[in-house]
Symmetry: C2
Subunit: 209 residues, 2 copies
């Protein structure tokens, strides 16, 4: 549909924008024309923020979370519990868990989940480095915080086996009712798990939220 842009600069920007996931050529054109209508400073700020971010963000050599230094601010924060590490699939999950303010320990970002169908094997993930951290940092607890999917469960089990001989407590996130959801619409597997893992009602008062 969109052929004659009348400007190679516009065409170039549309081409680059449409490489982003979920952004087709029509949306890219809409975004580019929006930027042309707005103040020049806005487009320059956007462009520079993208370049600066990509050029200066690296990965923490300890937990593999994004970082602007060799070691990320979370790993460097001495107020955090240095002996409890939460294992997550990716950087986004770190942000999501941080937003709950319920985890005061460190993280370990795997960079994916074991998925033979997608060609992702344990060696593609940061699992060996997790085992090394458990030994070197004498970690007391590993919290497996992967998605409750086949890939997540496979990865959970693989890590659990790898850590079986080490003196570390391996826990995983509770599976149960979603807060705000009706019992009636909760699937049977989840409901079953929530019965198996029921907790003392009196304990729910003592948890800080």
């Amino acid at each position: 549909m969109i052929s004659s842009f009348n400007s190679s600069l516009l065409e170039n920007a549309v081409n680059e924008l449409s490489k982003l996931p979920g952004i087709g050529r029509k949306t890219a054109l809409r975004l580019a024309l929006h930027m042309l209508r707005r103040d020049e400073n806005e487009a320059v700020a956007l462009g520079e923020s993208i370049i600066n971010m990509r050029r200066n963000i690296c990965y923490c050599s300890r937990c593999h979370n994004i970082s602007e230094q060799e070691i990320c601010p979370i790993c460097n924060d001495s107020r955090r519990d240095q002996e409890t590490v939460c294992v997550v699939e990716n950087v986004k999950d770190v942000i999501t868990i941080e937003s709950t303010r319920q985890h005061s320990g460190l993280y370990h970002v795997l960079g994916g989940l074991i998925s033979p169908l997608d060609g992702i094997s344990p060696s593609d993930l940061e699992i060996e480095s997790l085992v090394a951290r458990v030994k070197e940092e004498k970690l007391k607890e590993i919290i497996l915080a992967l998605s409750p999917t086949i890939e997540g469960d496979t990865t959970n089990f693989y890590i659990f086996r790898k850590l079986a001989d080490l003196p570390v407590r391996v826990t995983m996130l509770a599976r149960g009712l979603s807060i705000g959801n009706e019992l009636e619409y909760t699937d049977e597997l989840t409901l079953g798990k929530s019965i198996q893992n029921r907790v003392l009602f009196s304990d729910s008062f003592n948890q800080k939220s």
Copy 2:
């Protein structure tokens, strides 16, 4: 939901991306993390294409379409019919009409439609400059190619009145059946117009497509 980014560079990029229309903070974070995973050159190319586009694209002083020079390539193209001007709402409509390859004349971009409810009056649009072009360039035909909405029809009528005393033919895009749509699902107004404006069947053979 998204609070602790662990990186001011990421936060900055997410803030700038989420200023774009239709992109919320969650999508902005998804796009930013995508760029972090991909090659650095890709993000730099995107950032630079946005900055270059915004810095170097201006508006054609004759037709008000986007341009990289004072006069746009369409206005400068001597092979195009210099006496027929298609009046459109915005830059996107120029691209859409160009893609049909059915208009060999020039354009005039109004920059919007008359809409009292949105506070857009005729003086906010490039209508006076259109009247001036009709006089100065001795235009023979003005094709009104505005959307068939209340605002489009109001603007059509306003321009028609403004040009009433000038020796120029004022035409508008045909309204009728959408190609590929079933007759049954065509609204009555459109169907009525398509009956009023019916064309000779034999003429449809002679039109190049």
